[in-house]
Subunit: 341 residues, 2 copies
C-alpha cells in the first residue's frame, strides 16, 4: 500500500496551477472559478489526496470537535441521550469526543484539560461532578443537560410540569393517597422539580399524600430490597386505601411493579403507578408502565443548536458580547399505559 | 478574560532559557535536567500556558485519537460495550471519537473519511455495515468486536461455548424438548456460533429439539407479537412436554417470560428458559432470567490492548511487517437465576 503523502507541489504539477492557487482552493475556494475548482477537485481524487484536517484546524482554529462528558452509560437515559447527541453529526457535522466520568472529579478535570488542549470548540455536559461556576471559567461554549446550571447555558426537561401531569393523572384515577418515592435530590438540580410538582399538585387537589425520600440503592438488587421495604410499609400504613405511586424513574417503577405483581399475580385495583423517563424498561415490564416521557431527541438537538449558535458566534471576527444565560425547558409527554386507568 | 496566546518566546524570556531549550522540553523532556524541567513546568503554570496538542500531532503524527463506530445505543449490549471502551482512557490515555452508524453505509463511509482526515491512530468497529475487506484497505490499525472479521483483527465472545453451556443446562434440567429461537444470522458472523452450539449439543445429548428462525421484529411491541405467536405454537405442538427455551438474547427472553408469566401467574414447571448477554433486563425481569453473560469489560479491554499494540508498532521507526490476523475469543459465563433449576 502506498503511504507516500500527496503534497500541494504534487497537485500543482498535476494541474499546472501554481502552489498559491492550490492553497487558495483549500483556504478560500470561492476565489477560484468554478471550472478551476472542479479541475483541482478531480486532481485530488486522481492523486488519492488525503486531506489533513488537523493542519486546517491549526490554521483557523475550527476543530469541529465537541466534547461530551456523561456520568455513565448504565442508565438507559444517558445511553439514549448520547445516542441522540451523536446522531446530530448528520445535521451539524461536529465530531464528538466522548468521556464517561463515573463521578470521578479528578479524572474528569484531567480529561477536560486534554479536551481544551485539542482545541475543541465546545462541550455538552451531563455529568454533575464539576460545579457550573468552574465550567464557566474555562471560557469555551458549554451547554449542560439536566444538572446544576447557575453559570452556564442549559437545556432541561420541565420536570415540574412532568410531576404535575403524573400527579394529576393519579388524582383523576381516584386514588385515596398519593406517594412520591425518590432519593435525596439537591434543590438546584432540575430533577428537584419532580418533588416540588408532586407536592404543589397534591395540595391543589387537597389529597392525602406522603413524600418518601430514602437512599434507594444503585444495583438492581439494592433497589429491589429498598422497594420491598417500602411496599411492606405502604401495605401496613394504608391498608384498603387506593394508593397512587409516582416513582422517580422507570427503573424504580419496574422494581416496585415486579414486587406487587409477584405478590398478587397482577397489579391489584388498589394500586395505580406512574414512572418517569420512558426508558425501554417501561415498555418491557411485566405490564407496560405509564410514564412521563422525556423528549430525549429534542433535549439533545436543542442542546446542540444552542451550542452551535454560540460556537458560530465565537468564530466571527467580532463576536457579540454574551448577554445573560439561556436555559431552555422541554415539555415532557404523559404516556398512559397499563399501570394507570 | 485574556485570550492572548503564550508562545515559546514568552516562556524563553520568562525562564531565561533559549527557545531551543523550551522546544526540547516539549519534544524530548528527558534531555533536560530535572531541575530545568521543573523551572519550565512552573513557568507554564505561571504564564497560564495552554498546550496545543494539535500542533504536536502534526509534528509527530500521534493524535491519541481512536475512532469507534457502533451500530446504535438502544441495545444495552452496545451501550455497555461503549461504556467499557471509553473507561480504558484511564489505562491507555486514548481519546475516543464516537459515531453511531444506524446501519447507514453512506454516512458511515463519510464519517470514516473524516476520521482519517483527523489522523486518528486506530479504530474499533462494532458496526456490521462495511465489509472487513474494505476496512482493511484503509490501512490503519483496526479491531472489530462481534462482527464479520475475515480481513481484520478482532475480539469476540466464544458464542459456540456459550450455546453449549446454555443447551447443556437445559438438558440437565430434564427438559423433554429444546427450542432455540433466533432471527436469521449470517454464517460469517460470530453470533452464528449460538445456533451451531445449540444444534451440536442437542445431537450430542440425543435430545428432541427444534430451531425456530423467524424475523422477530425490532420494537418491543413487534417482539411481543412474534413471541406471542411462538408461545402459542409451542403450546399447541408440545403440550405437557417440558420445554427448554434457549433465547437469542435477554430482550427476547424477557418478552417471552412476560407472556408466559401473565398467562400462568408464574413460570410453570414445564418451562425452563435461558437468555444471552446478561443485559440489565435479565436482572430486572419479573423473575431474574438465567443467561449467558458476555464479559463485556474483558471484550472491550482486550480490543483496546490489541489495538494499542498495533498502534505502537506503527509508531516505531521500523514497524515489524504484519504477520497474519489475530482473532481473540473471550469465554462467556453461565449465570443461573430463577428461570432454570
Amino acid at each position: 500500500m502506498d503511504n507516500k503523502k500527496v503534497t500541494f507541489d504534487d497537485i500543482a504539477k498535476y494541474t499546472h496551477f501554481s502552489k498559491t492557487t492550490i492553497s487558495r482552493y483549500f483556504n478560500n475556494p470561492d476565489s477560484l472559478t468554478v471550472k478551476n475548482q472542479d479541475i483541482i477537485a478531480q486532481a485530488l481524487i486522481d492523486l488519492n489526496y488525503q486531506e489533513n484536517k488537523l493542519a486546517k484546524v491549526l490554521a483557523n482554529g475550527k476543530s469541529e470537535f465537541v466534547g461530551i462528558i456523561i456520568p455513565n452509560l448504565y442508565l438507559d437515559y444517558f445511553a439514549e441521550m448520547l445516542n441522540q447527541i451523536l446522531t446530530t453529526y448528520e445535521t451539524f457535522g461536529y465530531k464528538f469526543l466522548v468521556f464517561v466520568s463515573m463521578n470521578n472529579k479528578e479524572t474528569e478535570r484531567k480529561y477536560l484539560q486534554e479536551l481544551l488542549a485539542y482545541k475543541i470548540e465546545g462541550m455538552i455536559i451531563l455529568s454533575h461532578t464539576i460545579p457550573s461556576k468552574e465550567l464557566a471559567s474555562y471560557n469555551i461554549p458549554i451547554v449542560t443537560i439536566e444538572r446544576e446550571d447557575d453559570y452556564v447555558n442549559s437545556v432541561n426537561t420541565d420536570n415540574y410540569m412532568g410531576a404535575v401531569q403524573a400527579t394529576s393523572l393519579l388524582c383523576k384515577n381516584n386514588c385515596d393517597v398519593l406517594l412520591h418515592i425518590n432519593s435525596q435530590v439537591e434543590k438546584d438540580v432540575p430533577a428537584y422539580g419532580r418533588i416540588q410538582g408532586f407536592q404543589d399538585t397534591c395540595k391543589e387537589y387537597g389529597i392525602q399524600h406522603e413524600l418518601i425520600i430514602r437512599d434507594l440503592g444503585h444495583s438492581p438488587s439494592e433497589i429491589h430490597n429498598c422497594m420491598t421495604g417500602i411496599c411492606h410499609y405502604l401495605e401496613e400504613k394504608y391498608p384498603g386505601q387506593k394508593k397512587g405511586l409516582f416513582m422517580a424513574n422507570d427503573t424504580h417503577a419496574n422494581s416496585m411493579l415486579n414486587i406487587i405483581f409477584r405478590k398478587h399475580g397482577k397489579l391489584p385495583g388498589d394500586y395505580r403507578m406512574i414512572g418517569f423517563d420512558d426508558s425501554p424498561i417501561a415498555s418491557q415490564a411485566i405490564i407496560p408502565i405509564s410514564t412521563i416521557g422525556q423528549q430525549i431527541d429534542k433535549l439533545a438537538f436543542t442542546a446542540m443548536e444552542l451550542l452551535v449558535e454560540e460556537m458560530n458566534e465565537r468564530k466571527k471576527r467580532r463576536p457579540k458580547p454574551k448577554t445573560g444565560l439561556i436555559h431552555k425547558n422541554i415539555t415532557p409527554i404523559l404516556l398512559r399505559r397499563e399501570t394507570t386507568d
